[in-house]
């Protein structure tokens, strides 16, 4: 694949309600800084690749409306939507546009304006048809609705099994949440900032559904992210220190917990995340990374719930299975640690859903460029891994970034 560089990154501030702007205007706040910082204008852009979580805002293909606001008029356009993974699936689309040789410089962006929409019904609509069949065959609807109230429904099952397999406790989740809240406080784009948050503060929040507490969950945000990607021959002219795309992969399994139309699911163990390991292996191989535990300097996994910090640290092959809680205890994942993980504060602190997975790449790029500011990792970042999660924890996407392009 042709080398691809991230040369511009822009993000809007993320808050719970931006009632003063419409969707194209909100996204423009992420796009404008990309152009300002690179000195490029839409004339320099060959294509636009976009997406958001479909069906959350009640707008069908909002790019039809917005792309002109973002410099996309008369450009090739591609809308990609895959659920929670959307932001990274979109970025992968943009990477392939450049890697294919079809285009040289591509603007990519992802967004969500949750305050316009009905997130709960949006999420429920994932399974409406499946639940309808359970209803049709006179299943116990109460158990379905009680145990699947929103996205948390699935993740509690995952968290409980991970605890049993790894031997970690809810206390780990409390401390992970506190670390992420503190990291977010250093990130100017983050939504939920709680400087000085402690594990005790998190532990004092209400248990929603065992084993996850309110303090282990993510907010609903309005926000957007944009990036400019370009080919190797152009990158040096645009940015002094671009971040390079070294590897990418996605992998899809079937949904866990409730199968299609109420059928059984072969995705038996929701903590196994075989698709994540599979994608990570492929992406590392492309990047020439043989031992991610040593060669990866920083990770931005997709963590909307606290327990996922441990699961994805392991499934991204950054340690042996079951070791994540111990490494966390040793401070490895801290901003000052050996393998800083989610210095941005993660999706747990900022969740404009469609944008979230692209923000993982954007955050890795900022860290490699040395432009993360207060949440810049202490160690020098040569290689970083970004991750996206979607569907019913059955879509995984992985992107490996580095400070040097691939050779050979």
């Amino acid at each position: 694949m042709r080398n691809v560089a991230v040369v511009g990154v822009g993000m809007s501030k993320h808050v719970s309600k931006r009632r003063d702007v419409n969707i194209p205007e909100l996204v423009y706040e992420a796009v404008r800084p990309c152009f300002d910082e690179t000195g490029l204008s839409p004339k320099d852009i060959d294509a636009l690749v976009t997406g958001n979580m479909p069906a959350f805002e009640g707008l069908n293909t909002p790019e039809l409306w917005g792309a002109g606001y973002w410099g996309g008029l008369r450009k090739p356009a591609l809308r990609i939507t895959t659920g929670g993974t959307t932001g990274m699936s979109v970025a992968h689309g943009a990477i392939y546009m450049v890697a294919s040789g079809l285009y040289d410089t591509v603007l990519t962006l992802a967004f969500e304006k949750q305050s316009d929409g009905d997130t709960t019904m949006g999420l429920n609509s994932v399974g409406l048809a499946d639940f309808a069949n359970v209803f049709e065959y006179k299943g116990d609807m109460e158990s379905v609705t009680l145990s699947f109230g929103g996205a948390i429904g699935l993740f509690v099952y995952q968290a409980a099994r991970y605890m049993a397999k790894s031997g970690c406790t809810i206390d780990h989740f409390d401390r992970a949440a506190a670390m992420l809240r503190n990291n977010a406080a250093k990130n100017p784009y983050a939504h939920l900032k709680q400087p000085g948050s402690t594990a005790e503060d998190i532990a004092a929040t209400r248990m929603l559904t065992y084993p996850l507490r309110y303090g282990h969950t993510c907010p609903a945000s309005d926000g957007a992210v944009a990036m400019i990607l370009t080919s190797e021959d152009r990158a040096g002219k645009i940015a002094d220190k671009p971040a390079w795309i070294k590897g990418l992969a996605a992998c899809s399994e079937v949904a866990t917990a409730i199968g299609e139309y109420g059928g059984g699911s072969i995705n038996i163990d929701p903590t196994e995340q075989r698709s994540c390991r599979f994608a990570a292996n492929k992406a590392y191989k492309m990047a020439g990374i043989e031992d991610p535990t040593r060669e990866i300097d920083l990770a931005e996994p997709y963590i909307p719930f606290a327990h996922l910090l441990f699961i994805y640290f392991e499934r991204l092959l950054l340690c042996k299975e079951g070791d994540a809680p111990r490494l966390f205890d040793e401070g490895v994942m801290d901003i000052e640690g050996d393998l800083p993980t989610c210095p941005s504060g993660a999706v747990m602190s900022t969740n404009a859903i469609g944008a979230s997975a692209m923000e993982r790449i954007a955050e890795c790029a900022l860290q490699i460029m040395g432009r993360a500011g207060e949440h810049q990792a202490s160690k020098e970042v040569h290689n970083a891994v970004a991750h996206g999660l979607g569907g019913a924890a059955n879509f995984n996407t992985v992107t490996v970034l580095g400070d040097k392009p691939n050779r050979g």
Binding site: Y137, K138, S147, I258, G262, I268
Partner: protein, 162 residues
């Protein structure tokens, strides 16, 4: 961000205007439940056993043979807890309300013996201290099965083991 009243326009996504269609892969399964039998459906290509059944095997991209007697097998009423949850809160007017310990309910993903899939069910006759991943459980039937998914009322811990 700001306190000013902003103009917004209301709208709807009328999900009630949609129809979804699915194959009748649960017909024979609920017929089995009526006779207090749990049936599984075996993929004719890779042999994966689904219970409840499905119409397509994702693993090997094969259409399941819903009309083929030989592919339907009776499976065990016993299985293991893959994972579980305890419901601590419920939706109430004005937000969530905490449930008292005796009101809390248990749900689990269960994998039946001889089956390659899991499904969601309620666990009863169990306490928060007892429930665990890997716990052996067995099916409890309603007294008079109707040929409905709810005939398989819930699961309880297995009191004995071999």
């Amino acid at each position: 961000m700001d306190k000013k009243e902003h103009i917004s326009v209301p709208g709807q996504w009328p999900l009630s205007s949609y129809t979804w269609k699915t194959e009748r892969f649960l017909d024979k399964y609920v017929e089995g439940l009526k006779e207090k039998k749990i049936l599984g459906l075996k993929c004719p290509d890779c042999g994966t056993v689904y219970s409840p059944p499905v119409s397509i095997c994702a693993k090997c991209h094969t259409r399941m043979r819903l009309g083929e007697e030989a592919d339907w097998i009776r499976v065990s009423e016993m299985g293991s807890v893959i994972t579980y949850t305890v419901i601590y809160t419920d939706v109430a007017p004005g937000g969530l309300k905490d449930l008292a310990p005796e009101e809390r309910r248990f749900f689990a993903l269960i994998q039946l013996d001889d089956v390659d899939t899991h499904f969601l069910t309620e666990l009863k006759e169990v306490s928060e201290g007892e429930i665990s991943v890997g716990m052996r459980v067995q099916a409890v039937w309603v007294d008079e099965p109707q040929g409905a998914l709810s005939d398989l009322a819930h699961f309880v811990p297995v009191e004995w083991s071999i």
